[in-house]
Amino acid sequence: MVAMRDKRTVIVDYGMGNMFSVLRACASVGLDAVLTSDRKELERAAAVILPGVGAFCPAMENLSRLDLALPLKDFCASGKPFMGICLGFQLLMSESEEFGNSRGLDIIPGTVKKFPCPNPERAKVPQIGWNEVQRRGSWDGTALEGLADREYMYFVHSFYVQPSDPRDTSSVTSYAGIDYSSSISRGNLFACQFHPEKSAWNGLKIYRNFKKLITGE
């Protein structure tokens, strides 16, 4: 039982959107995961997934209120596998333009910006739907390993991430006339704007890769 717990993946539940689909995706690839907002569980996790849908500001407030911001930063510095999804990707940045300026977890230097609307492409905001994920750098040994360039993934967002260091970007996606960072990969950290748990078989491949990073199998 103790050995089981050591391999446990924690899905951070901080009241932002639907986390059950992340839990189901973990189950479908055989990843032992638990939904929790308990910082002690987070501290002893083998891996952490930070999901989330919704607004940046309330999300940061919830993380602070639950006393999870610092443990999350510590976990990211621990070298153990971490995956951020959608809002969980944006929160890693230094700041967001939402409601003036809001501070993020500041784990990856960068900002979160809003898609222009109206835009010359007449693209709707939020972006809700499938879009192409274009490769930047090598995906070997990352959560994206084995995926083809320009695979489609499912997106739901009005804000996008702009990392300060372009080398952090592992894929780019085009929307509303903007080429933005749709995923980043840096050491033990992987984070994506799209929802792998809603992106059919290619999305589940990311969960399978993530499991491989945790268990080695």
Binding site: G54, P118, K124, K198, A200
Partner: protein
């Protein structure tokens, strides 16, 4: 429920569509508001175990607790029609609580005297509300998407309602899903290219290709199973497969996910 024709088990259809490249699925309980019920939870929780694309539930979503239950069962979004018209503030409350992207406002419209008017209860109840004004209001209240159904076209196979879709899609900045009327490949391309639809939904044209694959004898519950037992084909709509639709769209420069991407890499 004599008028509702039974075609098969919903979770069998769901699995089939997922395996054949559907990008998203909408589950509609067409008599939910009439019966004051919400009965899709079991179907959703069964589907969510094996289908990893966005799932939307429509029909009978009336309270915050309804939404919470449906999301917990495995849905990603709910589509609200009757309850939103009865109390527009429900959209605001729900979108604040669950995020805009979770709340789809379903608009069912029919043309009357040169205007598009909104109906509830699957086209049974007249409201007198104009579709255009209601769509703008829904966006303002925090809806993430609009599911726009043409009552005049639904089930006819005559094509989507271009006028309705263009009018609504241009008036709002949130995505509009066109629904009702798809009968041929050209319809699917036309409503995206000329009708301004951000996504397209279809039912009959796909369902009739699948009808008869379930064992009609095993199907119980409400609705009319006469059609299934008869083994007949529908005369007004030629059924389509998702793969054929997507291929057609790509050939007409409308980008979409390839229906088999990654399927064999499992």
């Amino acid at each position: 429920m004599e008028g509702l024709r039974v075609l098969g088990q919903p979770w069998e259809f769901a699995r089939h569509y997922y395996e054949h490249g559907a990008d998203e699925m909408i589950f509609v309980d067409v008599v939910a508001s009439l019966y004051q019920r919400n009965s899709l939870k079991d179907i959703i929780s069964r589907t969510a175990q094996e289908v990893f694309i966005p799932l939307t539930v429509a029909g009978g979503v009336r309270t915050i607790d309804n939404i919470r239950d449906i999301l917990r069962a495995g849905a990603d979004k709910v589509a609200i029609n009757t309850a939103a018209l009865q109390s527009p503030e429900f959209i605001r409350t729900a979108s604040r609580l669950f995020g805009s992207s979770t709340i789809v406002v379903s608009i069912e419209a029919a043309k009357e005297g040169g205007k598009y008017l909104v109906y509830t209860d699957n086209g049974r109840e007249y409201t007198g509300v104009e579709a255009l004004a209601w769509a703008k209001k829904a966006e303002e209240l925090g809806a993430g998407e609009i599911l726009l159904t043409s009552i005049d076209r639904e089930g006819t196979g005559e094509g989507y309602d271009d006028d309705l879709t263009v009018m609504i899609s241009r008036a709002v900045s949130i995505p509009v899903i066109a629904c009702g009327g798809c009968g041929r490949l050209e319809h699917a391309a036309a409503i995206i290219r000329d009708g301004g639809a951000d996504a397209i939904a279809m039912a009959s044209v796909l369902h009739y290709a699948r009808a008869g694959h379930s064992d009609a004898g095993k199907i119980t519950g409400e609705g009319n199973t006469e059609f299934l037992r008869s083994g007949k084909k529908l005369s007004t709509i030629d059924p389509l497969e998702i793969g054929a639709i997507k291929k057609y769209l790509r050939e007409h420069s409308i980008p979409c996910r390839h229906e088999l991407d990654g399927r064999d890499a499992r």
